[in-house]
């Protein structure tokens, strides 16, 4: 009798506990540091170009959209990268966070087929490359790929090769480009 009473009171207690957690409308999670858009601004003495890649549904089924421009041969460009979250209104500038946590970030460049030399010009707080700003020098006419890879927590310093630098990829966009006369 006593046992059973004990059993059932304990049972009730637990059932009561469970009741407290009822299914409620969950809050919407807006992913922090979500990057939807990469904007590359290239300025030379004579012109200003903007390359852009945007994928607003992240890993959803929609594919991203490119905005491309041709580069001029034998030209020196200064470049800046901008990472945006365009699901917010107005768009959130994630570049600020990347620069704030510059020690934990790095942009890697991968060039293929294009006759260009690209070099990072901005540094993190420890004096290692960050890569959100760069110079890009074009030579002869050519076509190929220019890829930007943003990583967090890469091993620093490194030789700028993303395959050995480690870390986790936040962004990886490859622009098909041409260098024309």
């Amino acid at each position: 009798m006593k046992n059973l009473f004990f059993l059932f009171s304990t049972l009730s207690l637990f059932l009561f506990n469970s009741c407290v957690k009822s299914l409620e409308t969950p809050e919407l999670i807006n992913e922090e540091e979500l990057i939807t858009t990469l904007v590359v601004t290239l300025n030379s003495a004579t012109e200003s170009l903007e390359l852009r890649y945007a994928d607003l549904d992240g890993d959803g089924p929609n594919t991203g959209e490119y905005q491309l421009e041709d580069l001029k041969a034998n030209t020196n460009y200064t470049g800046t990268l901008k990472f945006l979250n365009e699901t917010e209104d107005p768009a959130e500038d994630i570049t600020l966070e990347v620069k704030e946590e510059s020690n934990d970030h790095q942009v890697f460049y991968v060039v293929n087929g294009l006759d260009v030399v690209i070099e990072s010009t901005d540094l993190d707080n420890n004096g290692y490359y960050l890569g959100t700003e760069f110079t890009l020098r074009t030579s002869t006419t050519s076509t190929g790929q220019l890829q930007f890879i943003l990583r967090h927590l890469p091993n620093k310093p490194n030789d700028g090769n993303p395959s050995t630098a480690g870390g986790a990829t936040d962004l990886s966009v490859s622009f098909p480009l041409s260098i024309i006369e």
């Binding site: 046992n3 009561f16 992913e31 480690g166 990829t169």
Partner: protein, 813 residues
């Protein structure tokens, strides 16, 4: 809140009613069974023995139902009743772990040689109603396989699935070296039911990288029943069941304990486990147990597996008061594991996967460390059980069980900034269930088991993670009813019928990416689920229900004196799990996007299992073929490569197909002579996706285990063990081509080809130093062979473990 109070009040009221009617029932029974007075001097004595090995059973309870008088069997299994009158008596015999039994005695003169054999073999399934009991009861080496306390203790540092892979037909599905879950006849996860101490484990078992959250040191033995359902809990174990049982404590005044201290060369691990048992003759029992294990980075023959360190701890407590008529028991267990995930497996897009596949060693290799960095899992599981039983005189046993489980899973990712120390996945799964069961005593060869189940499950995904929910918040309610009839025919043959009906009701709050909601056509089909939407996301409230009927029929008999035969046919259904329904997003360690499907039907399995066992003095052979046809089989397969801003990723869909699995398990045991013994096991599974005309992904390759051992009279044992695993030649080709900007070329990403065959040799030795202490040594992968395992998700990134020497010391007190 007020509603809850009312519910609790009502429940109390109902319980009280049930209890009152029970009391009334008892009184009624007592009233009709009064014995009459007579001149009585007869004596009845005898011995309680184990049906299988004729060993005396101490501490059994023998109740003379007519006199309402009980006694315990002594050390030699003996018992004695005096002052009896001539007449017919019903003896009710119980022993811890055995199935209780009733015997009718015609007493005309003194009787002193009564032998009462008890079925001590299926003791592990004591309170678990296995639908195919007749299918398993016949065999020592057959379909039911038990791993006993000795083996568990000698492998104290291993995971459940690793210990179980010593059984034919069972293999383990791994993620790295410390996450492993059992596969039975090619099926795993939600299709394999684990019953831990009488409680069905609810530990987010749906994910392949979610290992069972339990500690083998807390249990005394493990039984695997291939192709059977534990109808008492559910009907959805279409792969098989694993039943773990606690230590059997005898009824006598005693206190004892044991400790195991050990160390492992690979991963430089140390572990300690201790237990203490208290038992009183009056039926009071208690046990405390705890264990702790710490491992550093493991290493393969050629390199360190950076960030593969782990830490496990557990604590369990048990207290019970049992008598011949009723009993109450309470069990509590808490397990906590921190598991490092191989650093090299945290990759970006498919081009990283290509690099990993073409490299000979992992991309991250650092010096040995005990540190567990991100990515890592922190999983805890709390289990609480309260159960009571009451014997209804002459009729049967009434059992009531309540259990509570809380599984909390945290997964940490490489993060920076304010969320650096916040988990990227934080899911809490709470489950409560109430079982009411009735087991009748066998009369005229017939036994009935029946019961009701009510279950409540709540899943909560913490939004503080700042990462999209992998599994949505949901509530799942389940109600079930079952009945199993077991009829003993002549000559140890028997037939068994079982039926179970379940109703599952699932309600979830799920945010969908709007583009996916539209692309999938959910917009038209499930518009009634939509609650609200914004520019990017749709909040939905899916309400799904799954009624299911499970039926099973089994028959067993003896073909001559040396051969046993059993056959079992089961029709079972399994409702899709939350991961199969709702998955949506990037899965980092696999570098792929996984997508569930809201419109899934239940899986329906029709399985035929047969077991034939032949035994002679020195040889035992058991052959167990099976055939499992599964309609609407849910599996994950690649179907596309997609570009995201993070690069190119494979898309994997959960899909349904009609699957066909068949295979064969063989066990062979030969006593060669002296103390030399040879054991061999063979497992083979053939799995096909019927509609696609191609093999099923992830089927265990053919495996043969051989073992040669010598045991002396003191129990000292030494042996050599070999495992041969063939290359899986039957696999679907899901390879794809990927454009790599770095080389401006297309490359084949070979994710499908299974690794090569391998052969491993192990040694083991157990040495008893004194009556209460012993040493055991195990060497795994003696030859330090580098190999990769098809069933390991990390096979793309690194080799398996190299040589590992485990030394442990056990002391009892």
């Amino acid at each position: 809140m007020i509603f809850c109070l009312i519910v609790v009040f009502l429940l109390k009221l109902i319980m009280k009613r049930i209890y009152n009617s029970l009391v009334f029932f008892f009184v009624f029974l007592l009233g009709i069974s009064q014995a009459q007075g007579q001149d009585c001097h007869l004596q009845l004595s005898g011995t309680l023995i184990d049906l299988h090995d004729d060993n005396a059973l101490e501490g059994g309870i023998i109740t003379l139902l007519e006199r309402n008088e009980s006694c315990f069997s002594d050390q030699k299994g003996g018992f004695n009743f005096k002052q009896l009158c001539p007449g017919t008596y019903h003896l009710y015999i119980e022993h811890i772990g055995c199935i209780a039994k009733e015997v009718v005695i015609e007493l005309q003169e003194n009787m002193s040689d009564l032998i009462l054999p008890l079925e001590h073999h299926i003791q592990e399934l004591d309170e678990v109603t296995v639908a195919s009991k007749s299918y398993i009861a016949i065999s020592d080496a057959g379909v039911e396989k038990t791993i006993d306390t000795d083996i568990i203790q000698q492998n104290s540092s291993l995971q459940l699935a690793d210990i179980l892979s010593k059984i034919s037909g069972v293999s383990s599905l791994n993620t790295g070296n410390s996450i492993s879950k059992p596969i039975i006849n090619g099926l795993h996860s939600s299709r394999v039911m684990i019953i831990n101490n009488g409680v069905r484990m609810e530990d987010q078992e749906w994910g392949s990288e979610h290992a069972p959250t339990m500690d083998v040191n807390a249990i005394s033995n493990i039984t695997v029943v291939k192709g059977a359902n534990a109808l008492q809990y559910s009907g959805d174990a279409i792969g098989g069941i694993i039943v773990t049982a606690p230590e059997k404590i005898t009824f006598k005044d005693t206190i004892y304990g044991s400790s195991i201290l050990g160390s492992q060369s690979n991963s430089r691990a140390a572990f300690l486990t201790s237990s203490l048992v208290l038992s009183k003759r009056n039926g009071l029992q208690a046990k405390l147990q705890s264990s702790y294990q710490k491992q550093g980075d493991a290493h393969t023959p050629n390199y360190n597996l950076t960030n593969s360190a782990t830490k496990h701890q557990n604590f369990s407590a048990y207290i019970a008061k049992k008598t011949t008529k009723k009993g109450i028991a309470s069990y509590f267990s808490y397990v906590n594991s921190t598991i490092g995930i191989l650093a090299a497996s945290h990759i970006g897009d498919a081009s990283d996967l290509y690099r990993a596949l073409t490299a000979t060693s992992p991309s991250v290799m650092e010096d040995f460390s005990y540190e567990i960095n991100a990515p890592r899992q922190e999983v805890s599981h709390l289990l609480y059980k309260l159960n009571a039983y009451s014997i209804i005189k002459d009729k049967g046993k009434l059992l009531l069980q309540f259990d509570y489980q809380n599984n909390h899973r945290l997964e940490y990712d490489l993060r920076i900034g304010a969320k650096k120390n916040t988990a990227a996945l934080d899911i809490e799964l709470l489950t409560e269930s109430l079982n009411l069961d009735y087991h009748s005593f066998r009369s005229n060869g017939l036994q009935l088991k029946t019961g009701l189940l009510g279950k409540y499950q709540f899943n909560y995904s913490n939004p503080e993670t700042g990462v999209k929910r992998l599994i949505p918040d949901y509530v799942k309610l389940q109600a079930g009813v079952y009945g199993v009839i077991d009829y003993e025919l002549k000559n140890k043959a028997g037939i068994e019928l079982g039926v179970r009906y379940d109703y599952i009701d699932l309600k979830a709050y799920k945010f969908y990416q709007k583009s996916l909601w539209e692309e999938r056509g959910y917009e038209e089909r499930f518009s009634e689920f939509v609650i609200s939407e914004n520019e990017n996301q749709v909040l939905t409230y899916p309400q799904l229900s799954y009624p299911s009927l499970t039926a099973t029929i089994g028959y067993h008999s003896h073909l001559g004196t040396h051969t046993n035969f059993a056959i079992n046919v089961t029709h079972a259904k399994r409702a899709p799990n939350p991961s199969e329904l709702f998955s949506e997003g990037l899965h980092h360690s696999a570098s792929r996007i996984e997508l569930g499907n809201l419109s899934f039907q239940q899986e329906a399995s029709n399985k035929l299992s047969v077991a034939i066992e032949h035994h002679s003095d020195r040889t035992t052979v058991s052959v167990q073929p099976f055939y499992n046809s599964i309609e609407n089989f849910i599996y994950l397969r690649p179907f596309d490569v997609t570009q995201t801003i993070r690069g190119f990723f494979q898309k994997w869909n959960y899909e349904q197909t009609n699957a066909l699995l068949y295979g064969l398990d063989v066990d062979f045991n030969q006593k060669i002579g002296g103390d030399l013994e040879y054991n061999s096991q063979f497992s083979w599974v053939h799995g096909n996706a019927v509609d696609e005309h191609q093999p099923l992904i992830g089927m265990p390759p053919l495996q043969v285990n051989n073992e040669l051992s010598i045991t002396d009279s003191k129990g000292n044992r030494i042996g050599i063990h070999s495992t041969s695993v063939a290359q899986q030649k039957r696999y679907p080709d899901y390879n794809f081509e990927l454009y790599l900007p770095a080389t401006d070329s297309y490359q084949l990403i070979d994710i499908s080809s299974p690794p090569k065959a391998y052969h491993l040799i192990g040694l083991f030795a157990n040495w008893t130093i004194s009556k209460n202490s012993g040493i055991s040594i195990r060497v795994a992968n003696l030859m330090n062979t580098p190999y990769r395992n098809y069933l390991n998700a990390m096979r793309y990134y690194a080799d398996e473990l190299g040589r590992n020497i485990t030394v442990q010391y056990k002391i009892t007190y």
